[in-house]
Amino acid sequence: MAATNAASPTVDTSPSSPVVWKSDAMARRRKARYAADRRLQIYGMVAIAFALGFLVMLIGTLTMTGRHAFTQSMVTVDIDFSKAEIDRSNLMDANWRSVFRQAVIDDVGQLSRSEERDYFSMFTSSAPFLIRDQIIADPSILDGRATFVVPMSDPIDQLAKGLVNTDLPEDQRRVNDKQVELFNQLEAKGAITQPFNWGLFFNSDSRFPELAGLAGAITGSFWLLLVCFLISFPVGIGAAIYLEEFAPKNRITDLIEININNLAAVPSVVFGLLGLAVFLGWFGLPRSAPLVGGMVLALMTLPTIIIATRAALTSVPSSIREAALGIGASKHEMIFHHVLPLAMPSILTGAIISPAADRHERVHHQPACGRARSFDGASDADLHLGRQSREGLRRPDVCRHSRTAGFPGHHERHRDLLETALRAPLVME
């Protein structure tokens, strides 16, 4: 065996000279062997440190660069409407631009023409419209003085967050010296605040960074995922039940199984091509509609869901099936009333949380039934199953819980059922 090779290559094992275990040579050998063992251990630790270091670095750089997006520098502007001449019957077309400009000019005093231009560019260009909208919503503001909170434009926002290096020469940064001076003036007055940037979630796309938000992207993702799950869950679970419980073991089911395993490993871009050729090209569905994207995503997630569901179905103890059948349930009733509810938690964790984590758990808690399928599951990590949702729902603890603790809520009910079933013949006698 390999083990004997491991222990014996350099030791003289001829019967004439017995091994002197206490000799220096042997001690050195032993030491070298233990050192090799430790080295391997250290390599392993270094590898893990590397991987975790990457993880920390990834999350670290993302939060460090991303955190600034969650606040937005705002400036508080005090506007006295008694001076401004505003036609109350036509609020929409009043000259809000000049009203706003006058108000911010009052804050800093007289400026030259070019300085004025620099100054106005410090505020978001849509400030007059923001003010207009607030006044249309509540015209009583016009009766006196009012304060408005308006976003600063992007370069000034960066300046306020300390991301602009003011030591650089003036022509190498986006903010000139006058603007820095004016900004400091405003800040000294306490007009600058940095509240949480709700606009990031509620505004739609914009050419101006200070106004841009993710609303469009979020709704898009939502519809896409909705369509995807509405299609892939019923179809995936249906397919899994059929293959696991009903299908006869023949050529066709073998073919389907191989197919599913291979589909799980097809690169996502190929699914994209399929969507382009079939849904857009042949069926003529509209481009960039959530329906098309959702359908393609559904096809892509289908193998994962089927594999996860089948694993969950096999892990339901057969006593429950037999008990249900024993008291006269039909096969469908047995599956839909007993097996499927029991398997549901693992189906959900398996399908939503990373299939990689799922596979790991399966291997370590259910060696008997997980083994065979664990490698089929291997490729399903390839799927980009609703990436956004996975990020939010990643909870390894939940996954582990549902597997080790069995199915707490259902236990009682099924024991009763089982007992009833076992007693049934006695009663009949």
């Binding site: 004997t4 090799a36 630790m45 991987a51 871009v269 190929v270 091509l273 980009h384």
Partner: protein, 321 residues
């Protein structure tokens, strides 16, 4: 409509009517159809790729596609447009793909296997329970996030590293894309080798210990050879994943197909080319669009082949014990 429904409903209600049976029959049909969806999808992929690729090969000869050494798909879409002649040789694109995937595997394989060894053989239960899920997080991070990481953090770092070493590094070097892709594949390799180690029968391991082998010797000389087919299968699956990976390379890899072995240069991949060829308005009768399908077909064939080999390796070895 109500009346018709009521009429039909009332007519159906008889003593001999078994509602459950027809519901169950319908469910069974639905489930059979569902399991056919997988086949339909595969069929759809193969047919659509073949059909469009066939269209492409009518415009560009197959031999030029397979053996051409230049990939310059910037051809004129309109008649009056100024554009390149166009060349559709897939070799440089394939070369870039293999190169980036190789870099990724160079990162992922040693780290993945060593961490699997440590986690299965040396680590105690508590360490394992903490570290394993953390490694799996790496697999669950959306690939676009890796792409952003590659282009905003890793690529500038590599560029300045290259400059400090005295040669010019491209801002979207193969090293950045491949390295970050390697990080993504670590948990994949690690958990597959983990499975492979766990599947080695206890008797073999204990036999080795009984002969006086240290833990390290057991791992290197007994477990590793025994688990090798499983590990190789895992590496092949990882490789096919690296080849098919899209978002990281779409952000971090280059667009121009170059044949170079210098990892600091920009190379392009099959997936990047598919993405760039299809962005924007293009007609279906244009070789530029159709080339994407030809590339897709190739990608499909390559990954399918790798997966089949990998699964076969794994299965064969499973049957041994």
């Amino acid at each position: 409509l109500c009346a018709v429904g009521a009429f039909l409903g009332l007519r159906a209600i008889e003593t001999r009517f078994r509602a459950r049976h027809s519901v169950e029959r319908a469910t069974t049909w639905f489930m059979m159809f569902s399991s056919l969806v997988a086949i339909l999808t595969t069929g759809g992929i193969v047919l659509s790729l073949l059909y469009e690729a066939f269209q492409f090969f009518r415009l560009v000869p197959l031999t030029e596609f397979l053996f051409g050494l230049r990939w310059e798909p910037q051809i004129a879409i309109r008649a009056d447009q100024v554009a390149g002649q166009g060349a559709f040789g897939v070799i440089p694109v394939l070369f870039g793909t293999v190169m980036i995937a190789t870099i990724a595997m160079l990162v992922a394989v040693p780290i993945g296997i060593l961490s699997a060894i440590y986690l299965t053989e040396y680590a105690n239960q508590r360490f394992r329970a903490v570290v394993k899920p953390m490694l799996e997080i790496l697999a669950g991070i959306p690939t676009i996030v890796y792409g952003i990481f590659a282009i905003l953090t890793v690529a500038p770092a590599i560029r300045s590293l290259g400059q400090s070493l005295g040669f010019d590094a491209s801002p979207n070097s193969a090293l950045a894309a491949g390295g970050v892709m390697g990080i993504m594949i670590i948990p994949f390799i690690s958990s597959l080798s983990d499975d492979a180690f766990a599947a080695v029968p206890r008797a073999i391991r204990e036999g080795s210990f009984a002969m006086g082998a240290t833990k390290g010797e057991t791992i290197r000389k007994v477990l590793l050879p025994a688990a090798l087919p499983g590990i190789v299968g895992g590496v092949l699956l990882g490789m096919s994943r690296a080849i098919g990976e899209t978002m990281i390379v779409a952000l971090a890899a280059g667009l121009i197909a170059k044949m170079t072995l210098n990892p600091f240069e920009a190379v392009t991949t099959v997936t990047v080319q598919i993405v760039t060829l299809l962005i924007g308005d293009a007609e279906f009768d244009n070789p530029k669009t159709l080339a994407a399908f030809a590339l897709g077909l190739m990608l499909f064939v390559i990954t399918l082949g790798l997966n089949l080999i990998a699964l076969r390796t794994v299965r064969k070895y499973r049957e041994k014990y």
